[in-house]
């Protein structure tokens, strides 16, 4: 291989031209984060002249923060310590298996980790991520199992009068057989889009792994964009590269629910699906739970499986909106038509906890049967990944195929 070196040197030279920032950065290569064999994690940051380097992230115990809405829990901070080379480091406690996110705070400024290329966007923020494996987190990893395909494509929505972008997971083997598959429609929360469940939710990995373990049926997972006013995720439409915002018009007023038939129609006309109620599931987180609740009663004989993950319920009786029209009638119709599984999951400290208590009371008073899961923690992707991992094993039982 020695004879290759001059040529490789030239290519590396080219790389330095391309990545001059890295050349300017200098110093020895830093590994950060490093997940140690004992499940502690070491973070490193090269900053010889900084006065302080902290890390904040969801792997640290939470701290209290006085917001305008009172005291709230926020991710804690830990201080990194500088060595003689100007490299700051911090090693965490032993961490539970999970996918975690973090940022550094250097002399008071939030920054990403320049040595970690694994970043995810959540609304208008970008965080670094890492996985501590074991337990449920093994579902979030890419393992050596057959992999499904993930496609970003566009469908026509006559109701919204737009072409709209959508993400579709097809299970391993889909391309090589003539089978028809059940479909899970999986909806994001406010501020999210058709990228959220893939990036933050690790959906492709979770479904690949559950199928490989024989715990979930091979299924198609459809991840649409739930913002009725939006064609596509930020940067993926003709609006260009704008700064994303949390709230968009017409996301929770019935417009999206009413347009959902366009998505079902696109999927059932373009994919090999079992187009029947027993092979349709719908689930979503937060606003996507709201959408799942209402879509499933707007089309009350369409879905046999409904998942409400930390669902926004909108319990305020004073709120007037088209989306609530005929609420009781359509919910009764849905119940009377029959649902195989109506699944509700929420964290004990979720700000939507009470709304979910109230909604369950409503269901109880109607005699609408549901499955209820209560977990630790709040309104977090940690919970939503766990809910998907659980819900996906409960839908489309084997006897149906």
């Amino acid at each position: 291989m020695k004879t290759f070196f001059p040529f490789l040197a030239m290519l590396i030279f080219a790389t330095i031209q391309l990545n001059a920032q890295q050349a300017l950065w200098g110093g020895t290569p830093i590994i950060s984060p490093e997940v140690n064999s004992n499940k502690t994690v070491t973070f490193r940051f090269q900053a010889p002249n900084a006065d302080s380097v902290f890390i904040t992230g969801d792997f640290l115990p939470t701290a209290k923060y006085n917001s305008q809405w009172g005291e709230i829990d926020i991710p804690g901070r830990a201080m990194l310590v500088k060595d003689n080379n100007g490299t700051w480091s911090f090693t965490s406690a032993v961490l539970e298996p999970n996918l975690y996110s973090y940022s550094f705070i250097v002399d008071g400024l939030i920054t990403t980790d320049p040595n970690n290329v694994y970043k995810v966007r959540d609304v208008a923020s970008v965080f670094d991520v890492f996985i501590v494996d074991g337990g449920v987190a093994d579902l979030y990893k890419v393992n050596q199992v057959p992999h499904g395909s993930v496609t970003r494509c566009w469908y026509n929505s006559p109701t919204l009068e737009k072409q709209r972008r959508i993400t579709i997971y097809t299970p391993p083997g889909y391309e090589n057989n003539n089978e028809k598959y059940p479909v899970l429609y999986l909806l994001h929360g406010m501020g999210g889009d058709e990228e959220a469940w893939i990036a933050l939710g690790r959906t492709a990995q979770i479904i690949d792994n559950l199928i490989a373990q024989g715990k979930a049926q091979p299924m198609i997972v459809v991840m649409p964009n739930g913002n009725a006013a939006q064609e596509a995720a930020p940067g993926e439409s003709s609006l260009g590269m704008y700064k994303p915002t949390m709230q968009l018009p017409n996301t929770m007023d019935g417009t999206y629910e009413n347009s959902f038939k366009d998505i079902i129609s696109f999927v059932e006309n373009n994919y090999r699906v079992k187009a029947e109620k027993s092979c349709r599931a719908i689930a979503g987180l937060s606003m996507g739970g709201f959408h799942s609740l209402h879509i499933s009663r707007f089309y009350p004989n369409t879905f046999d499986y409904v998942g409400l993950f930390s669902a926004a319920i909108m319990p305020d009786e004073k709120v007037k909106s088209k989306v609530y029209e005929n609420f009781d009638e359509t919910l009764s119709a849905q119940m009377n038509n029959g649902v195989q599984l109506y699944w509700i999951g929420i964290g004990k400290t979720d700000f939507l906890y009470q709304a979910n208590v109230d909604y369950r009371k409503k269901l109880d008073s109607m005699g609408f049967k549901y499955m209820y899961i209560e977990t630790e923690g709040g309104h977090t992707w940690d919970n939503w990944r766990k809910y998907l991992s659980e819900f996906a094993t409960q839908i489309f039982p084997v006897k149906k195929f």
Copy 2:
């Protein structure tokens, strides 16, 4: 809408729990970068206590840097100026239309822009990007035109004894008709993978836009992983979230060339393609140009269109490698079998310029006809996007369909 407020306030409250970094960050919302109507760009960075904030990026005039290989050009820097609110800003000169990348340097430390969610990874670095529209850059934007689909899937490579990840663009309408399409195999450079042409190369946008303008034929674009030792891009295989490196074993020794039949076989068995020489093109940048050169002569009657973008040619006669065996015989065979277009593009300051001069001399001496384009600049994605935009209009002429 007023009645919505209490609920929205609760959701915003939740957002603050999720994005506590943003809450800690405080201050007024910053827009950065802001592309102004006169095609200058304003960058902003909130850092009341910083002593200096610079920006570096490929939109700035280059500077000289003394590397271990002598003086090289590196991206220049510009200083931001602080206002009374602690917001630093800089407005660029009027910029030519293009996609640009940049980073901030805060008190000597490279950092990403916390107000820009549009970032791309190149090998082990993550940069912020923006587009100044007009001219060729209008091909790089998402426009209101019909969009193709982009699929990440896995294929079996018996030759490499691996399942491998691959990115495939299918043109608008592919799902809704029974037509067969020509195929462009598009290969990345060293340090790249099956994500490079989509993320840095803007391939989906370029092909969507050229098709919409009637300048390119509807085609399938296949973007494989050219690192023979690798299953998938960093983070997308069972190796997990490791720090990417530039060089991998067996990337330029003939192993990959020899395995390329597995990719063609996968594509032709799983997609509706015109499986004939006149409907196959292969092109690549740098190492991918090397691969395209060699693959097209390893299979000398397979491709009617070959594109070498800033191609590594490996001109050193002393280098012994399996990949060079029967070089002249197979290249002659390729020429004699006929090639509709053998396209070579390189930048005037590219470190591979002389190697391309020498290779063209070799082709000339054989009587192998080619098209040659020389551009400003060097070994950059700016050039490779332009080469793709040009090459894609030259392949699969209408008369063939």
